[in-house]
């Protein structure tokens, strides 16, 4: 009886909690193709797993209701049962099938979210360098030759390629409604593909613990139609101050700063750790044969991804 009550309490709690949310949960409320793929995967996995949980719970309730001592005769002696080949094969085989199904989903979608989003392949992606320092985000737009701090404006309906790195501890660049996160690290550049379908304001943050000011290391993302975006860029170019090495070094000092905007990017005097500037061992190799391939780092990476997609398909 007590267990029934416990279950009811749990269910009640869950129900209260779920109805307590007015807005849909951020991760399940995607505003871009990458986040949409991920939300789909999450829902697929939740339903699959709900089935597993249901099977377990039904069996569980059946067992503890039916075979409790209070419902048995006093002289009942439970039998000795070794096990059952058939049953055991069933509960090995079905989970294998479920795992196989989820594996296929995972491999397929992982390749998807690691590439330019579907439907956006034709467009030239907008490259934005997003670098973290304690405890802020610097966004450099090499194409537009501008730089912002702690806020990000992006055009909708255009693929965006974030180049992530860090001037300190590992940070994780995350805009839940546009797509999952990726690490920004000091010795190499990671690429994150995102795109926004819908104009709007989104929350972005560092989600990887990076010291005492970590909680406030957030930034605002504003997605807007290309026209507005271009207008914004022009405005910045007309009004903002240029970024200098001195100013940038001041920005790098640990602490919180508000939002600010500059013309030019810090990449000119403080290049990202990619290509010849990479600190990571495999790039920083002194082998001469490697330097050539580094120049075409991008192309090799892409071809590799294609390659892995094929190999995973064959799997």
């Amino acid at each position: 009886m007590k267990i029934k009550w416990a279950l009811l309490t749990i269910l009640f709690t869950i129900a209260t909690v779920l109805t307590g949310c007015d807005n849909p949960l951020m991760v399940l409320d995607p505003k871009g193709p990458v986040a949409a793929t991920q939300a789909d995967v999450i829902m697929i996995s939740i339903w699959t797993m709900a089935f597993v949980v249901l099977v377990v719970i039904v069996l569980y309730i059946f067992m503890i209701m039916k075979y409790r001592a209070s419902k048995q005769r006093d002289d009942y002696e439970p039998p000795h049962i070794e096990g059952s080949k058939v049953l055991e094969i069933i509960w090995v085989a079905i989970p294998i099938l479920i795992v196989a199904f989820l594996s296929v989903v995972t491999v397929k979608t992982t390749n998807e979210v690691e590439a330019t989003p579907k439907g956006y392949q034709e467009q030239e992606p907008l490259v934005i360098y997003a670098s973290s320092s304690n405890w802020k985000w610097h966004f450099s737009y090499p194409e537009e030759d501008i730089e912002t701090v702690n806020y990000l404006f992006i055009p909708t309906n255009r693929p965006i390629e974030f180049k992530l790195y860090s001037y300190g501890p590992i940070a994780s660049f995350w805009i839940p409604q546009l797509g999952g996160q990726k690490y920004a690290m000091s010795d190499m550049v990671n690429t994150l593909h995102l795109a926004a379908d819908v104009p709007g304001d989104y929350m972005g943050r560092n989600s990887n613990f990076s010291g005492s000011g970590f909680a406030q290391q957030t930034f605002n993302v504003k997605a807007m139609p290309t026209k507005e975006y271009d207008k914004w860029v022009d405005e910045i170019k007309a009004t903002a101050e240029p970024i200098t090495e001195e100013k940038f070094n001041k920005l790098l000092e640990p602490g919180h700063v508000g939002q600010s905007t500059y013309t030019g990017t810090h990449l000119e005097f403080s290049p990202a750790p990619e290509g010849e500037h990479a600190g990571h061992s495999m790039h920083g190799s002194s082998d001469t044969e490697k330097t050539d391939s580094e120049k075409s780092d991008e192309s090799t990476k892409d071809s590799h991804e294609e390659h892995s997609e094929h190999s995973n398909m064959n799997h």
Partner: protein, 648 residues
């Protein structure tokens, strides 16, 4: 004075000063108390120098309980801080220190020693052995763990706590970003305790493989013993990785090496990699023994043999092997391509298969049984659905593409608490209650036990279920505060309420120990639960030699057979028994280790060198020592046996 500045806490708060005073007073009270009651001799002879696996086990469990409350206090403070938006109870730095120590203490100084404690008490009894293979080494293991734990715990009053998370990722944990000695404590205290754990691993593998009672072949071992055997294999092969990782960390912080630095070719990711190469098997080190405990308890109180014994064993072997090939799922988002993430997704999800086998085997152990709802059984039964929830969210997290959204969020926090609390904490509480009468000769109150069970189980869900939701709503883990506009407030408050309930539940356990010690009947049989394995075949309290006559075994449940089918467990006659001598060297050596560790933390090289020499001197002493143990004579055994029989 400058010299002593290093011992000051960098971010003092009234709470820390209060703790300093409290710790000082408690230690003083303990010393005065022992002196007053003239117990120093007793303490030294019976406990500090003991090599008896049962006493070492009890000391492990006491330390683990102590650490449970230390880690629990941290947890309550965390939940209190995040209960409302923009709370000013703790500042960011203090919060960071608290979640760091909470993680380290709970995993390494609570879960592991609690399990090792139960393992110490039960395993030799279950295999019908007189002690572990290397009793002296066992004492070394315990004292190294204890000194490591103590060294870690003084950090918050001497020099400052570590504050880079229990994962201690570089470069955050480097001298550049963690200036206090906190991370030195982390590297060195865990190192000392880790060496102790590694020695335990070796000790128990040898004990189980070489010291089983006649007739007990591998496939006739009780399931708990099987789980311990497999766990110790994982310990032996995973802990050296931690040893190396921590050594590299120590060298980076103290000697200026470049392993995880941002310049000169270092790789911060390498730390994360090595940490999780150890870290993932570590999860199974604390989970597999729990599976063993549940197998024993469920079968005992369903009054039935364990369903699918063979597949239970095979699934544990499979889990242990898989545990070594999944670690990269802890950093899918580090930027390795889709291929690497795909491989690790699949290996990770594969673990669900053997784990599922175990769940269904437990369920079918209940089938046609006669279930008695004792406190240990309640924990075991609550474990099944809650752990299933933790397990299926694990499968969800294993899917790399979706993990990009779960990673570093409260969803992950909820998941691993849903695995570790029903998996490990419920198991050790169940095992603790179950084997308590064997350890102390009386039962814990079932009534108070049930109260604490319901408090813990319900509050656990109230605390951790909301985190799944806030995680999906974008709340990152380890945030000391959030603004009201995020809307995380109400659910976090709910978690805090749950945390209070958990605290009440644990307090009730303490009260239960107190109450039962005072009032519970001492007149219990050797086998109060009507159990099935060999540890219940000997007397309560257990004589130091465990079994006067070594038992003979011919099935997985020899003791049950002896009760039901008249199988003869103890053939033959009493012979003199060889027992190891007590020794003070393990304790002394571990104290020197403590001094060494302290000196290393604060870069006091001369003391560190002297302590190193002291440690080697202890080892050399051991090499030259002639210690052949002692014999207990037949008369003495018979006298003890008669006394124990007469007591009933």
């Amino acid at each position: 004075m400058d010299y002593f500045d290093r011992f000051a806490v960098p971010h003092p708060s009234p709470a820390i000063y209060a703790s300093m005073v409290a710790i000082g007073l408690t230690m003083l009270a303990v010393v005065v108390g022992i002196t007053y009651f003239k117990k120093w001799g007793y303490l030294w002879r019976e406990w500090l120098t003991t090599v008896d696996h049962k006493r070492i086990g009890i000391m492990y469990i006491l330390s683990a309980l102590l650490m449970l409350f230390r880690g629990g206090a941290d947890a309550i403070m965390m939940r209190a801080q995040t209960a409302v938006p923009d709370n000013g109870l703790l500042d960011g730095q203090h919060y960071n220190e608290i979640f760091t120590t909470h993680g380290v203490v709970m995993i390494l100084f609570m879960a592991m020693p609690f399990i090792i404690g139960l393992m110490n008490i039960v395993t030799p009894l279950q295999v019908g052995a007189r002690d572990v293979a290397f009793p002296r080494l066992n004492a070394v293991s315990f004292w190294l763990f204890f000194m490591g734990a103590m060294l870690f715990n003084i950090s918050f009053v001497v020099g400052g706590s570590p504050d880079a998370g229990w994962t201690s990722y570089f470069p955050l944990a480097s001298n550049d970003f963690s200036e206090s000695v906190g991370s030195n404590y982390y590297a060195i205290a865990i190192q000392i305790a880790g060496i102790g754990t590694l020695l335990t691993g070796i000790n128990f593998i040898v004990t189980i493989l070489k010291m089983r009672a006649p007739g007990m072949n591998l496939m006739k071992m009780p399931m708990f013993t099987w789980s311990i055997l497999i766990t110790n294999f994982i310990i032996v092969f995973a802990f050296p990785v931690l040893t190396v990782a921590l050594a590299l960390m120590t060298m980076d912080r103290l000697f200026g090496t470049q392993f995880f630095t941002m310049a000169n070719g270092g790789s911060d990711m390498l730390w994360a990699n090595l940490f999780w190469v150890w870290g993932h098997p570590e999860v199974y080190i604390v989970i597999l023994p729990a599976f063993g405990i549940y197998s024993e308890i469920i079968s005992t109180f369903a009054r039935r043999n364990l369903y699918g014994y063979n597949s239970m064993v095979i699934s544990m072997v499979a889990i242990s092997t898989l545990s070594f090939v999944v670690w990269a799922h802890h950093f899918y988002t580090m930027g390795h391509g889709a291929m690497v993430n795909g491989i690790f997704s699949i290996t990770t999800m594969a673990i669900a298969v053997p784990t599922g086998v175990k769940i269904f085997n437990w369920l079918f152990t209940l089938w046609k049984g006669k279930i008695v709802f004792t406190v240990p059984m309640l924990y075991s039964l609550a474990f099944i659905p809650i752990f299933t929830l933790g397990g299926v969210t694990g499968v969800m997290l294993a899917m790399a593409s979706a993990d990009y959204q779960y990673h570093n969020t409260m969803f992950l926090v909820a998941h691993f608490h849903y695995v570790l609390i029903p998996g490990t904490v419920f198991a050790v509480l169940a095992g603790f209650t179950y084997w308590w009468p064997k350890m102390f000769g009386f039962m814990l109150s079932e009534k108070i036990g049930k109260w604490s069970f319901w408090f813990i189980t319900i509050s656990f869900n109230v605390t951790f279920f909301p985190m799944f939701i806030t995680g999906l709503d974008g709340q990152a883990r380890r945030m000391y505060t959030y603004s009201e506009s995020t809307g995380y407030g109400p659910l976090n408050m709910l978690s805090f309420v749950g945390a209070i309930g958990l605290a009440i539940g644990f307090a009730l356990i303490v009260y239960n120990i107190y109450w039962s010690t005072r009032y519970a009947s001492r007149n219990i049989s050797n086998d109060p639960w009507d159990a099935r394995s060999l540890e219940w075949a000997t007397h309560t309290p257990i004589p130091e030699y465990n079994f006067a006559i070594v038992p003979t075994v011919d099935s997985t449940e020899a003791f049950w057979d002896s009760k039901k089918k008249g199988f003869k467990l103890f053939g033959g006659k009493v012979e003199k028994i060889h027992m190891p001598n007590n020794s003070g060297v393990p304790f002394i050596m571990s104290c020197i280790f403590f001094v060494w560790g302290f000196a290393m933390v604060f870069s006091m090289w001369i003391i560190a060198i002297i302590a190193t020499l002291g440690i080697f001197a202890c080892m050399a002493h051991r090499s030259f020592e002639k210690d052949h143990g002692r014999y207990i004579s037949v008369e003495e055994i018979e006298e003890t046996e008669n006394k124990l029989r007469g007591a009933k």
